[in-house]
Amino acid sequence: MWSFSHIADLLHEWLSKTFNPTFTLIIEMVLAGVAVIGLFAALGLVLVIMERKVSAWIQIRLGPNRVGPKGMFQSLADTLKLLVKEGMTPDGADKFLFNLAPFIAMIVAMLLMAPIAFANNFQFWDMNIGVLYISAISSISVISILMAGWASNNKYSLMGAMRSGAQIVSYELSAGLSVLSVVVLTGSLSLNDIIHSQENGWWIFKGHLPIWISFITFIIAVTAETNRAPFDLAEAESELTAGFHTEYSGMKFALFFLAEYVNVFIVCAIGATLFLGGWMPFHIGHLQAFNHVMDYIPSSVWFFGKTFFLIFVIMWFRWTFPRLRIDQLLNLEWKYLLPISMINLLLVTLMAIMGWHF
């Protein structure tokens, strides 16, 4: 049966027969890089059209419906437009930092792809500190936003960047704490171990109420971390024109735009891995027939299905809730999410010690 891991194994076998080990490793790394870039391009196209369709349907509109069947090629046309546009650098900008910032945003997104398991036994790098790695790398993304805002030499950009800094630094805490509750139950930081611990049921079903609380906290915190509405103060079209990327145009803007969507994909993939069992199929207790039917669906379909479900939830948030003020945003984090997730972590720890989960 053809699966991602099978194809990867075949490729590895063929490469190691043809070339020497060093060369094989280099070729495999290049292939992995190309695969990630391809995935990014595909995600950019798919998520943009998905966002526009979801927003249109929620607002009782039709959405893009001119380019291609049902407007499905709209994002392709937009990408072409962005590619041929002029990438301007403002006169008063810090040229080096201004041009570097979008690439840092993309590099962070690329690095975050490393520990994610896309299918059964298909992962770039199965490291034993996957969760720690993700929370460490994802906090670099604030650097690119601050860099863009500072280097633009524009007060709107700087204000957007500072807001984004305050926001990401505070929401990192509750995202980390809610992730920790799964780590406490699993007893491992490796994403692969976390997935395998959900073989007999996803954590969202096994973990009772505390896991639900940490799941909700996680979704709220990552929505804030990716700077999406209702926490899009960093962009805040009505107040700051476009926030930190006001001065960006052409391909440099496209990189920021792509990085936003790729980050949404990544946080949803992590959420799906931690709480919804990654590529694990859905099983119900001892219903053997049902479980076998579920096993028949490929693991990559399970993974992408769960991830896209979470992406839909985050888009649903964006088109439902109004934007928060900066004081409301910080109130929500420091007065509500953080104390709740701290108490929740204690509860989960108690549950793990006493073995109350299934």
Partner: protein
């Protein structure tokens, strides 16, 4: 803040979010009712007083009601209308002022309706057309009276 109020705040906040999400999920799943007008396919229903451009109505004998009094030109706040007058010879041999051309520059017009209100003989009115895009801006300078038209009898 008491702990009871804190917990109540959290739950009422969450509940209000759920109410909003339920509403938008309803719209998402019932997307067949569309509130936007599908413009090029179905023409929009315009209100009666929609102001698209200034036109001068002519009757079937190619006659208009404009006396060339330039009240519209004076009323226009941004010089959109230019009335070019000439002198006609009436059958009795008298000279009579009439319009040669009434030039209307659509690109300057703000549709403020002041010219129509200033006109003493109701010679011009606002039309409901709105698809004004052209490939050359010179096409936006329009002459409102038809070629060869003359003033209607009885309009002074």
């Amino acid at each position: 803040m008491s702990i009871g109020k804190y917990i109540k705040d959290v739950f009422s906040g969450l509940w209000s979010l759920v109410v909003g999400l339920k509403r938008t999920l309803y719209y998402f799943t019932h997307h067949k009712e569309i509130i936007t007008e599908q413009y090029p396919e179905t023409k929009p229903v315009l209100p009666e007083r929609f102001k698209g451009e200034v036109v001068m109505p002519h009757d079937e004998k190619n006659e208009h009601r404009c006396t060339g009094c330039t009240a519209c030109e004076l009323a226009c706040p941004n010089g959109t209308i230019k009335v070019i007058t000439k002198f006609d010879i009436t059958p009795e041999g008298k000279k009579k002022k009439a319009i040669d051309k009434l030039v209307y520059r659509l690109e300057l017009c703000t549709m403020c309706n002041l010219c129509i209100e200033a006109c003493p003989s109701d010679a011009i009115k606002m039309a409901q057309t709105f698809e004004h895009s052209v490939y050359d801006r010179s096409q936006l300078n329009k002459v409102l009276n038809n070629p060869g038209s003359k003033i209607m009898d009885g309009v002074e």
